[in-house]
Amino acid sequence: MSRFWPKDPRMLLAGALALILFYQVVLPFLMIVWTSLKIERPGEPGFLGLDVTTFNYVRALGDNRFWNATWATLAFAGVSTTIAFALGGFLSWSLDRTNTPFAKAISLLLVGRIIVPGILIVISWILIASPNIGILNSLIYNTFGVRNFFNIYSFWGMVWIQSLEMIPLTYLLLSGANQAMDPRLEEASIMTGASIWRTLRSITLPLSWPSIAAALLLLFITAVESFEVPLLIGGRAGVHVYTTEIYLRSSTAPTDWGLAATYAIALLGFCTLLLSIYFWMIRHSERYQTITGKDFKPRRSDLGRWKYLTSGLSMIIVFFITGVPFLMMLYVSFLSMYQPPSAAAFSSMSLVNYVRLFSNPDYALWPLANSTLVGIATATIVVLLVAAISYLVQKTQIRGRRIFDYLAFASIAVPSVTLGAAFLWFYLLVPLPVIGTLAIIILAFVTKFMPTALRFTSASMMKVHPELEEAAQVAGVSTLRNFFYIYLPLIKAGVLAAWFWVMVHSFRELTIALMLSGSGNRTAAVVIFDLWSTGRFTQLAAFGVVMFLILIALIGLSHLLSKRFGVQEAE
């Protein structure tokens, strides 16, 4: 027996991780590639036969629909990125780098918006600006007599919502870039007599250019991968992007999985290319980080009276981002029938939606419980995996250990729709009874959220000095006990941050959950989509409010815990 077990338990760990990563990351990827090369569908006889064909690619490339989708994806992502960057850049500058009043509160509201599921944001904008039922349109009709002034079901409607969605992320990315710069470099410019503007143009911008370019790329990728906006609005607007094409062909009748797989490959290739450029860029950005000296605090420019203007503008932008969707959901959740605000509407308000929601457990309670379960399970599995991976990569000398890092990080390039399709097809082939259960969603989520979680734990693992483990080894402690008693406690800050990040994001993730959903494993985000498809806006709003409150509670809890354990606020 002992001949087959390697002596070092670390080799055992490496073997187990290699298997898991191969199963979770490599196989689904191969699944997509294989499906794109076959006429037969996964699960059909002959699917595993070796007769591959370029049939699907020829079909895709020869069809205008593919080129339209390519163009639509690029245009949608490009314009949204530009707007999000302009507004986010303004916010980052005025909230972080000037004496704008209320900057702290404004940025809190801005970043807080990240926890709200994207689908709720899209729906609230539809309720505001769609033709016929949009509140804004009926207000304009009542006052000016112009019918359907706004049409959210348009390219520009999509761009508007997507840009607002991405502004908090833009702000976070640029704040990071800001903090990486030595404020003395700007002060040195001011002292030579240069104006604020010249300093911004000649010093601040050139120095932050690598991080700015990286932020732009990351935003662009986010927009390319986005799903909620194209799904809910793109259909009626006639704007079909890659993600919706993949979803439609793989999840709604009539399905065409071969074609869906080719689109998925195109999207994957595109995202991989952009991400490679991104990593190449941020590698160079470190060259400019000249942090020296002991006093290191960013300088805030005094804007004089202009500060009221920047404060006002920031508030307006953040009101659109956080305030509008929330107020809209709250308002609609008290109506028994969706209608624009009026005296009659306000007098008919009641709690009936909330009552209805909770009287049918299939509608609210089970999905919320499902989401919580999925969140906790995913977070726990992911955190254990990434803690083991970062331990293996950073604290052992096993040959080829960097592969683990790359594999676990690779799925950052895989868009959610691609991942959803891959898992769906994969389990048609693998005889495990997971389709239609929460298990398949959890499995897919693990792959999805591993990369970000890995970054949290790697960062804290890096700070653990190797002498600590050596000391324990000298004292005769076994490697396994070492991992649990020395490393895990020492990296608990990173682990906790990663756990909550994964938990919250699993809770709100729609794309994968929707693609893998059956009647028995619907999560909260999927229920919102269902309520939307069947036109039950008022119930949907009530559900959204409940979900919002749960997420707030989760964040509050994480804040409390991280304070207790001395964790820095996680992005």
């Binding site: 030579t192 020296t292 006093d295």
Partner: protein
Amino acid sequence: MLTVEAIRKSFKTKSETVAAVADVSFNVDTGRMLTLLGPSGCGKTSTLRCIAGLERADSGKIVIDGLSLFDSTANLFVPANKRGMGMVFQSYAIWPHMSVYENVAYALNGKGYRSAEVKRLTFEALARVQLENYADRPATRLSGGQQQRVAIARALAGHPKAILFDEPLSNLDTQLRADMRTEIRRLQQEIGMTALYVTHDQAEALAISDHIIIMRKGEVIEQGGPVEIYRRPKHIFTASFIGQSNLIPGKVLSVDPSTFIAAVDTELGLLRGFDTNRNLQPGEKVMLCIRPEDLSMAADKVQSENPNAISGSVLVSIFLGSVVEAHLMCGDTRIKCEFGRYADVARGKQLSLTFAPEAAVVLRAEQA
């Protein structure tokens, strides 16, 4: 001339308000170098940044060459980029995306110079710091000392009314630091620039300044020329912070009204020293401060005639190359002294020391 009058500046942190600068006033004469010297955290940088305009003082007045830069009563605040001062930062703050030439020329661009003029002035500034051959180097590919030279050239280039140095040498290693401080002093005297220099290194302050301001906890303790500050400190804090001093507690017996030589009763006997404040009264508690290098070995005979004598046995002696440092136990008091390198001061040896009354200062003991 740069005049600073009653500057105050406090910072609010989450838990408390720190009075970083509490009532600081001084003048820097044109063409002179003034140093703010004090321990870490005493408010030197804050004072400098208020003068630069990078920080807005809470109250007070700052005037340069008759021009008001800041006046809290008139609610006047000239922003940093309009003050016409140059500044050299502790971290150099060299722009990494520019060449040496571009770093210096930046200070001249946008000020209405013609491009030929910019070039001439830039090379003039670079020549002053001996970097004219490095003009095209990327600024990041320079040693620490060279980066600091670029920073100085950049601050000089625009011919500022005054130049502010915030611990410019503290990131350099010891040898380079000594060279650079001589270099800065030479430049300052050559150009005749008005300069304000911040440091917590007393040797640097003595070497470089025309005038020294001693600061503690946001306040000015005393000021004067380097020699005066070193030889005739008026405050115990100064005596112990600058150079080395033996502090011997005692009580004033009498003060000679014409020479201000005070006789002090100490546990080492009656000792005489100079009353720098010229206002001690008999009976006051004082410290007699005597520097190690001012103590010399006495011939045994003199002892009875000269009251300024201390005797004790050698506790430890250290050979330092140019001098020998010895610590004597005189009763319960430990006295540090320095002798020529050939002195014979083996451990345990009995020694008699003497000093001139003018070499010692008698300072009022600090009320705790």
